[in-house]
């Protein structure tokens, strides 16, 4: 029985059933292994399926089962090594559970985030892992709850939104980094981040705030800035607002400019960069100014990327297990998908100070 013209349609269960001379129900049972089927028939069905190169249509299955075995991942920018590592972690874990991964980027644009979320809802993903973009809207997150789609946030949690999150404790991580510099004897310590200037001002005027606000509900840049303030405050060092550098936009170039302009004048003896993008800008700026690291300025970066071990000097960094964040987020999401309804929680993964050659005591 050949098809009318070359365009051979994909075989369906009906075709397999016909070839094996059984009902569709039996064919389905034999292949997918639910229910009981006589052994001989099973063999016949399998043979027919093989012969026809039958592949079950998961779309149809998803329709019936009301689950797609697919999760959506909304990340900022897959090109950023932080995300590509996270995604790798998610993907490996999902694979182990026969779950596929649909990926999109937002570039920190909330309206794009919203649209992508709609698309993923339309595709009926079983759940989502999302890096929440910066912005004021929150309504689109509620939508997920309404549709009964579990979500796990990564990198930071959101105030007012009940959902699991997996992230590092940014305040603590930064605090540790700053303490490392303080221990070396630094006093004039600068930090570059994309934290908004308004937040910086608030914290400078009222440093106690760094202890009272819930940093786990802030974006990482804010949390890390709070960590900086905490460490300085605890050490009893008055905070010099000029040492809080804002990249004013998220790019290495912006960070570069910010660091360049601050370090052109009377300069701090140490610099902390709040993430891998900021670290690139900071490093480049110091190089441009021909500042020797760590003799003239100590530098502590964030994220243990390979290049930080390739440059001279090798960078002291705060290491963050990005892949593990992805893995834990996937695990948690799958638990939720499978009906676990314990109270929402924020899962913290540990950072680690990796001391290498870019930090040292200040020159006398």
């Amino acid at each position: 029985m050949t098809e009318p013209d070359g365009a051979r349609a994909r075989p369906t269960l009906r075709d397999v059933a016909a070839a094996a001379q059984v009902s569709r129900a039996t064919a389905g049972r034999a292949l997918a292994g639910y229910g009981n089927v006589n052994e001989e028939l099973t063999l016949r069905v399998r043979a027919a399926a093989e012969e026809l190169r039958y592949r079950p249509n998961e779309l149809a299955r998803s329709m019936r089962d009301n689950r797609t075995r697919t999760i959506g991942v909304i990340c900022g920018d897959i090109e950023n090594p932080f995300f590509s590592r996270v995604v790798r972690g998610i993907s490996d874990n999902a694979s182990q559970h026969d779950v596929e991964v649909l990926i999109t980027n937002t570039d920190e644009d909330q309206s794009r985030e919203q649209r992508k979320m709609d698309v993923l809802i339309g595709k009926r993903v079983d759940g989502m892992i999302v890096y929440p973009a910066q912005g004021p809207s929150l309504g689109h997150y509620d939508q997920l709850a309404q549709h009964g789609i579990p979500v796990v946030f990564i990198d930071h949690a959101l105030a007012h939104i009940e959902a699991d999150a997996v992230m590092v404790d940014g305040a603590r991580a930064a605090e540790e980094a700053i303490c490392h510099l303080l221990d070396l004897g630094h006093i004039e310590i600068a930090m570059v981040s994309e934290a908004p200037l308004s937040l910086a001002r608030e914290l400078v005027e009222n440093p106690e705030l760094a202890f009272t606000i819930d940093t786990t509900q802030q974006r990482q840049s804010g949390a890390r800035l709070a960590g900086y303030i905490r460490a300085m405050y605890r050490a009893g060092i008055p905070i010099n607002p000029r040492n809080i550098l804002s990249s004013d936009g998220y790019s290495a170039d912006r960070a570069y400019s910010a660091v360049l302009s601050r370090f052109s004048s009377d300069r701090p003896t140490a610099l902390f960069a709040s993430d891998n993008v900021m670290t690139i800008g900071a490093f480049r700026a110091l190089k441009t100014l021909r500042i020797t690291i760590p003799a003239e300025v100590s530098l502590v970066g964030f994220d243990d990327l390979e290049w930080t071990r390739l440059v001279e000097p090798q960078l002291t960094v705060v290491s963050q297990p990005a892949q593990k964040i992805g893995q834990l987020a996937a695990e948690q999401l799958l638990r939720r998908i499978n009906g676990n309804d314990e109270p929402q929680q924020t899962i913290f993964v540990d950072t680690q100070m990796t001391v290498r050659d870019s930090s040292a005591a200040p020159r006398e």
Copy 2:
């Protein structure tokens, strides 16, 4: 009309139709905009949809239309910046056409590749972009044709498989890199790649082969090695087999070892690394040996990654537009999905020699 227990089911077209007091057909037409619907009814339907927060089930739509508006991407390892850039290019392009992207990694394992392909077929992706893993099997590619699923290969084409491909001309790129070194006056030029030793031996014994074999059907490592041979042969320089370093496995560590051992003895004056992973290994090895670049050894890397501009000296590299590869692959795939059936083609994207500070004339 409240649901029995809290688990409110998602609204369907039926619910919207009921709320708007029209038929499902009309509701569908009004919302998705096919066919004509009276204006007043349209408004009523839209209002009902809004009210119920209706989201069409794309699964059902896909079932009917026999298309999912989803493509699959099978890459080697999303953590490798080459892939994350390619994927970004694919994803951006797909987004523009309202197409989503399902991503998986193979880690160069052909059996995993095969399984992933099956899964993607099951999910009825409209097409796939695949980085073919190394290995002898080809059967799983035929399967795609049988199922009528268009595929575009990236990074290299496959002999015996008719399909589009998007990639750089590796032989030419390498040739250019080697010519750059030759022009500077180097003679003893080494190359490190993951090309199999067997191929290396063949090419050394019979360099003309580098001109006669179809390098566009080779893996990039092989093609690039052929380019090396071509350049040397053309320059009339006998090829020293000791200068062809095989990483024997794909990792920076392997490349590191290979370079380390070769450059510990009488050393070549220049080194070319065949891709970004090899470049990391090569650079590290030279650093470990405290070889000054470019005074003692010139280094030419592959892939214009940010770190190559951060290290000292900044690396001369062959730049490859990875994002563009992704973009072109997506474009071509979408054309195929839309029925374009011109003869298959391999699309080459240009590489570019980016000369910086790691290459110079050899010391007298």
